[in-house]
C-alpha cells in the first residue's frame, strides 16, 4: 500500500503564515509512526487559507487550510491515521469553482510535490520533455513545436516564444545565451516566485530545451534577491540536475552541454526590462538601451540571447513532452494555453490561480475569486500591474487574452490581478502605481525621468483637493507623449494606470477637482472625521488613542476633533466602542 503523505505548504506565504510551526507540530505528532511521509511542498495557491497541508491517502487528496499547531493533533488522529475527512477544515474541494474553473499546467506540481526532491519531479514526467527533445528531435523541430503551440511570452509583451527562439537560433554566432527573466517585480505579483519555489526543475528543464533549440551552452537565471527561498530551491534543483546528468557536460549522453548560473538582482524594477536586465548581468547600471538590435541578435555580451520569463520556460517541458498541438487546443486561437494570475485586493479568495486563456474576468472574480468581501460592489480590476490598466465593471465579460486586454487599455502583464471595490479610489490607485514606476525609473530618458514625476505631482495635487480643471488635459498630454517617446517598456507603459482610470473614471477625478471630495472615501486629505455627539458617550477612549492629540475633552466632557491637527489615521474610528465617529 502507498504510504500516506502529508505535504505542508512551505512557500514564502505559507512560512509567513506560520507553516514552520505547523510542520514542527506534525513532526512531533508523527514521530515514530510508520507509513506516513511528512514533506514540505510549494504554494498550492490558496493564500487566503494558509497554512495549508495536503493529505494524500489511499489515492485521495484532501487540502486542509487555516491550519494552526492546535489543529495538528486532531488532523493526525482523524484524517491521517484514521479514515475520516475533517469536512469543516477543508480549504477547497476539487469540484468547487475555485478549483474546477482552473486548469493547471504550469502549476500542476506546485503544492503537490516536494520541490527539494527531484525524484518527485521525475515521477510526474519531469525531464521527459528534455529527453524527447535531445533524443528524438532536431533543434529546428523543437523551435517548430514551440511555434505550433502558439505560446506567447508570459512576461507581459506576449511576443510569440517560438518566433523569438527562431530569431536567436538563426542569429549568426558560435556563442549564444539563454536567459531567464525571474526578476518579477510588479507589486501584487508572485506567480513566478511560486513556480521557482514549488517546481524549480520545470524552469531548468524549459531553459535546457531552449538551449538545445537555439544552440546555446550557457544560461543565466536573473532572480530578485528579495526571493531568498526561491534562490535556495533553484540552487538545490541545479545541484540535483547536475548530479543526475540533466545539467552540465554531455547531458543524457547526447553530447549536449549546458551550464547554468544564478544572478541575483540588486533591487531595481527596471531590470525586468530585457536590455536593463542584460546590463545588470554584465555588472552595469540597469539603464536600458534602445532596441533594435534585439537581444536575439545582440544580447548578453553582444552575443545572440534568448530571454523569456519563468512562466514561459515552465510551459516548455509540457509543450515538448505532450505536443504543441495539445497546448494550442487550450485557450483561444491567438492566445493559447493557460495564464497564471496572482489574485489580490478586495476579493474573497486571494491566491494564485491558473486559468485557460479566454476565460472571462467575471468568472475569475466571482467563480474562482469568490466575489468581493462584505457584500460590497465590484468596481474594477487592475491587470498587468504598474504597466497595465483597469477594467471596469461593465467590461466584466471581457475574455482574458492578449489582444482583448490591449484593446481595453490594459495589458496581460505578468499576471497581477488586483480587485477593487467601491471603497477604492481610482485616483489613489493611479497614484499608487505611478508612484511605484516613478521611483523605479532609471532616469536615462527625459520623458520617463521628468514626465512621470510631473504626472505624479499632478495626481498628488488632485488627491489633496488642489487640482485644477486643466490638470485632466495635462495628465492626458503627458501620458500620451510619455507612452510615445520613452526609451523602454517601463516608461512606455508607466502612464497606463493613469490613462486607463481617466478613460473609465474621469468623473472621479473631476469630483476631486471640482468638489474637493473623494467619492470612495480613500483620499485622506479630503476626509473629515467627526464625532456624532448624539451617539458619543464621552468615554474619552478616542482622546487617548489619537496619536496627534487632535481630540479634546476629558471624560464626561464633550469631545471634539481639531481638524487642523487630525492626521486622518482612522485610529479613533476603529477604537470607538459606540460607532460615534464618522468619516465624511
Amino acid at each position: 500500500m502507498e504510504p500516506t503523505r502529508v505535504l505542508v505548504g512551505m512557500g514564502t506565504c505559507g512560512i509567513a503564515a506560520g507553516a514552520r510551526k505547523v510542520m514542527e507540530a506534525f513532526e512531533k505528532g508523527l514521530e515514530g509512526i510508520e507509513g506516513v511521509e511528512l514533506l514540505p511542498t510549494g504554494c498550492v495557491g490558496l493564500c487566503e487559507k494558509e497554512v495549508v497541508a495536503e493529505v494524500q491517502k489511499n489515492g485521495d487528496k484532501t487540502i486542509y487550510g487555516d491550519l494552526t499547531t492546535e489543529k495538528v493533533e486532531r488532523l493526525i488522529e482523524e484524517a491521517i491515521l484514521g479514515g475520516d475527512v475533517i469536512e469543516e477544515w477543508i480549504a477547497a474541494r476539487p469540484e468547487e469553482p475555485i478549483l474546477a474553473k482552473q486548469e493547471r499546467i504550469v502549476l500542476e506540481n506546485c503544492g503537490h510535490i516536494n520541490p527539494e526532491n527531484m525524484e518527485e519531479y521525475l515521477e510526474r514526467g519531469g525531464y521527459k520533455g528534455l529527453e524527447k527533445a535531445l533524443k528524438e528531435m532536431s533543434p529546428d523541430q523543437v523551435v517548430e513545436e514551440v511555434k505550433i503551440s502558439g505560446l506567447r511570452g508570459r512576461g507581459g509583451g506576449g511576443f510569440p516564444a517560438g518566433l523569438k527562439w527562431q530569431f536567436a537560433r538563426e542569429a549568426p554566432g558560435e556563442k549564444k545565451y539563454v536567459v531567464c527573466n525571474a526578476d518579477e517585480g510588479d507589486p501584487g505579483a508572485f506567480m513566478d516566485r511560486s513556480i521557482k519555489e514549488g517546481d524549480p526543475h520545470a524552469l531548468l528543464e524549459g531553459m535546457l530545451i531552449c538551449g538545445y533549440a537555439i544552440g546555446s551552452d550557457e544560461g543565466y537565471i536573473y532572480v530578485r534577491a528579495e526571493y531568498p527561498l526561491a534562490i535556495k530551491r533553484l540552487k538545490i534543483a541545479m545541484q540535483q540536475a547536475e548530479k543526475s546528468g540533466y545539467l552540465g557536460e554531455n547531458i543524457l549522453g547526447t553530447g549536449f552541454n549546458f551550464k547554468l548560473k544564478i544572478k541575483e538582482g540588486a533591487g531595481a524594477f527596471v531590470c525586468g526590462e530585457e536590455t536593463a536586465l542584460l546590463a545588470s548581468i554584465e555588472g552595469r547600471m540597469g539603464r536600458p538601451r534602445p532596441r533594435p538590435p534585439y537581444p536575439a541578435t545582440r544580447g548578453l555580451w553582444n552575443k545572440p540571447t534568448n530571454i523569456n520569463n519563468v512562466e514561459t520556460y515552465a510551459n516548455i517541458p509540457r509543450i515538448i513532452s505532450r505536443g504543441g498541438e495539445k497546448f494550442a487546443g487550450i485557450g483561444t486561437e491567438k492566445s493559447t494555453g493557460t495564464k497564471v494570475f496572482a489574485l489580490t485586493g478586495k476579493i474573497n479568495n486571494t491566491g494564485l490561480i491558473e486559468v485557460p486563456m479566454g476565460i472571462s474576468i467575471r468568472e475569475i472574480i466571482y467563480d474562482i475569486g469568490g466575489g468581493i468581501p462584505d457584500g460590497r460592489e465590484f468596481k474594477a480590476v487592475q491587470i498587468g500591474g504598474p504597466s497595465g490598466g483597469c477594467i471596469p465593471a461593465h467590461l466584466l465579460d471581457l475574455p482574458i487574452d492578449y489582444d482583448s486586454l490591449v484593446e481595453s487599455g490594459a495589458i496581460m502583464g505578468s499576471g497581477g490581478l488586483v480587485t477593487m471595490d467601491e471603497e477604492t479610489c481610482m485616483v489613489d490607485v493611479a497614484w499608487f502605481f505611478l508612484n511605484f514606476t516613478q521611483k523605479e525609473s532609471c532616469g536615462k530618458c527625459t520623458p520617463c525621468r521628468e514626465g512621470t514625476k510631473r504626472m505624479l505631482e499632478i495626481l498628488e495635487r488632485i488627491k489633496a483637493g488642489r487640482g485644477e480643471p486643466e490638470d485632466i488635459e495635462k495628465l492626458k498630454f503627458l501620458g500620451r507623449n510619455i507612452v510615445d517617446t520613452s526609451l523602454c517598456g517601463l516608461g512606455q507603459t508607466a502612464p497606463n494606470p493613469v490613462l486607463s482610470t481617466l478613460r473609465f473614471f474621469e468623473d472621479e477625478y473631476m469630483a476631486h477637482i471640482e468638489e474637493q471630495s473623494c467619492p470612495a472615501g480613500a483620499c485622506t486629505d479630503l476626509l473629515r472625521y467627526e464625532i456624532v455627539q448624539e451617539d458619543c458617550k464621552r468615554c474619552s477612549i478616542c482622546v487617548k488613542v489619537c496619536p496627534a492629540n487632535a481630540i479634546s475633552g476629558k471624560p464626561k466632557e464633550k469631545h471634539l476633533i481639531n481638524q487642523d491637527l487630525c492626521t486622518k489615521c482612522n485610529a479613533c474610528l476603529e477604537k470607538c466602542p459606540f460607532d460615534a465617529i464618522v468619516k465624511k
Binding site: 505579483a189 524594477f269 489580490t344 521611483k439
Partner: protein
C-alpha cells in the same frame, strides 16, 4: 544577506553620502579591508560581470559598502571608481552607510496599501523614532519601505530580517517588534 527594495540612501529627499564620514572610515583598518576585498574578487574567476556579485559579497561581509572597499574593488576589477559608485547608488539593495542589526521592512505593495500598510509604517516610525530609511541610534533597527514582498494574501505584512509577519495590526506589530529589541 541584508537587502532592500526601495529607498537607497540617495533616493529623493534622502541624504547624500557624507564625505566626511566616509573619509573617517579610511582610517578603519584599511589594510584589513583590502585583503578581504581582494579575497572576494579572487573568488570570482571571471572578472567580467563580477561587479554586482562582488558588491553583494562586500555588503554581506561589512553590512554595507565602505568607501575604501569600493576603491579597492574598482582597482581590482579595473572598473572606473565612478562607475562602481554609480552602480552602488543605482541599485536599492546597496547601502553606503552602516545599517541596523535588524532590518524592518514594511510592505507597501498593492494589497498591503489597500489593507493599511501605511498605518503599520506610521506605528513603526513612532515606536522606533526614525523615519523610513533611517537607522535607530543604537544601530539595532533600520526601518524601510519595500515595494512588495509577495505576501499579498497576508496583507498587511512586515518583514523583520528574513521573517515575514502577516495580517498585522499596530498592536500585533508592537509585540513583534519587542522580540527584536535589545
Amino acid at each position: 544577506m541584508e537587502w532592500k527594495i526601495e529607498g537607497s540612501p540617495n533616493e529623493q529627499g534622502g541624504e547624500k553620502p557624507k564625505v566626511g564620514r566616509q573619509l573617517m572610515e579610511k582610517t578603519l583598518e584599511q589594510e584589513n579591508c583590502r585583503e578581504k576585498v581582494e579575497e572576494i574578487v579572487a573568488s570570482f574567476p571571471e572578472k567580467k560581470g563580477a561587479l554586482i556579485p562582488a558588491l553583494q559579497a562586500i555588503q554581506e561581509e561589512f553590512g554595507y559598502l565602505p568607501r575604501p572597499a569600493l576603491e579597492v574593488l574598482a582597482k581590482s576589477l579595473r572598473v572606473p571608481f565612478s562607475t562602481v559608485y554609480g552602480v552602488a547608488t543605482f541599485y536599492a539593495q546597496f547601502h553606503l552607510e552602516p545599517r541596523g542589526k535588524h532590518i524592518v521592512r514594511v510592505c507597501m505593495g498593492t494589497a498591503c496599501h489597500v489593507r493599511g500598510g501605511k498605518k503599520l509604517l506610521e506605528t513603526l516610525e513612532r515606536e522606533l523614532g526614525v523615519e523610513a530609511g533611517g537607522t535607530t541610534e543604537d544601530l539595532n533597527f533600520t526601518l524601510e519601505e519595500v515595494a512588495c514582498i509577495g505576501a499579498c494574501g497576508l496583507a498587511p505584512a512586515v518583514m523583520v530580517d528574513d521573517e515575514t509577519f502577516g495580517r498585522l495590526t499596530p498592536d500585533k506589530l508592537t509585540e513583534v517588534l519587542d522580540q527584536y529589541r535589545q
